[in-house]
Chain length 306, copies 2
Amino acid sequence: MDLVVVGSVAYDSVETKWGKRDNALGGAATFFSVAASHFTRPGLVGVVGDDFRQEDVALMERCGVDLAGLERTAGRTFRWGGVYHDDMNGRDTIFTELNVFEAFEPKLPSAYQNAQFLFLGNIHPSLQSAVLEQVENPRFVGLDTMNLWIDISRNELVNVLERVDALFVNDEEARQLTGKYNLRDAAAAIREMGPSIAVIKRGEYGAIVFSEDDIFIMPAFLLERVVDPTGAGDTFAGGFMGHLAKTQDLTPSNLRRAAVVGSVMASFCVEGFSLDTLEGVSMDDVTRRYREFIELTSFEGLGLGE
Amino acid sequence: MDLVVVGSVAYDSVETKWGKRDNALGGAATFFSVAASHFTRPGLVGVVGDDFRQEDVALMERCGVDLAGLERTAGRTFRWGGVYHDDMNGRDTIFTELNVFEAFEPKLPSAYQNAQFLFLGNIHPSLQSAVLEQVENPRFVGLDTMNLWIDISRNELVNVLERVDALFVNDEEARQLTGKYNLRDAAAAIREMGPSIAVIKRGEYGAIVFSEDDIFIMPAFLLERVVDPTGAGDTFAGGFMGHLAKTQDLTPSNLRRAAVVGSVMASFCVEGFSLDTLEGVSMDDVTRRYREFIELTSFEGLGLGE
């Protein structure tokens, strides 16, 4: 298996100014793997309850996600409910039901244990460690986390970060983790904690990729309509890691392409609720939007020898 | 005169986490003209009191700003005082003293009346109109405004906008002016009001330039240290318009370059208080940072025919 992701598979109840969806397929591992499935066949490690719908299994399988690592157990699937503010930047969580996720002990199928690319989605850092220990000799490990774990499980997080290649966080999380406000300083502090790559996600403002000798700053797409931002960060990471797994190229210039690919996938994700748009995207759609992104952002030299 | 700017010349008292300055040279027309002076010889229309220091006249003259349009009158120079929040994004205004600005009636020297490029800095829209009427047949008119004028002088603002080529506003102002949240929609609404170009400034997140058949999205520099953001927007506009006046080229690709030049100039501006850094910048510094910006933001195609 080239690429394995561990994280939540969930039913989300989401309200935005464009509408409302109850119990729609969601979860970090779901968005990540469906995004990555455009580039490779990703394996998903997660857990769902006995209420998980067959049509949702079918959707992921149709996309080419390997579900050998998706455990089904008695109980209800993880559920999250939230309402987005009109500006789509803020949101209020209405409820979080861990359900079957509470007792989750990830076990990797043997076919996943030689994964080259591994993504540790936003779950408790101890679970992230437990998954990492089951993979023999991964070439590249990405990790996502959140303010909650930085607050309450800092030691476990710092411990797993030592063994990770790329940390994916938003600017607030980067600042909270490092105590540095300036993003250059925060990225330097992250890189001292272990990851050689810090990917700072800035939502509607794009992303910054810090690596050994390179900094790449990119804006985000300017969409006609953002319907539902849920899953955008996981979709970005899925496109990013999927592109790396497909190309097997970790050079700085390919990390830049990976970030643009991630942004392209996220731009599709937020145009609909749940996986509505992401599911139907073709490789032609991806390359077309990648090209649009070049057109939106490129500019010429000053013609003064620069 | 290729380029004329009207706006405030001020003494600013500014406090940021990096220090405090009282009665430092500032004002929209000052930042704009010093930035533009790297590309052309700009003429400044404004007013100062009899307390205006000779050393500040000397600074602007040394930069190559034409001061024939700077009126000196009895009274005190316009003063503004503010304190920036630690994140440098928000600020609290401590005081605003209009002083000699209150009775300002801009009169253009005859040498300014054939200006090709005109920038109407952020002053009352009626004053902007009065200046515009004194210029015979400008080729390109830029205008800046703010929430206050959108609130209390909307009709006058709409009136002057009909005769303007480019509106420079931040995202909040664009939304307030048009009632549209999405920036594509806001820009379309602005372009229906008169200006063929809408330049949306996003502070630390860059800028977007909307023109006839073109959208250009750019991030901003990631600086080691932002010392004082005062004047960044005016400096951006000064670099933008200065580059246009120098190159006499209004094609979309040159508007893109102008935006990057503006961002380069603004990046120097915020690295020091007042005009401390902007004043000493050389054309070599400008081209070097322009080249850095290319390095920070460029990426390659996917190699899939895109």
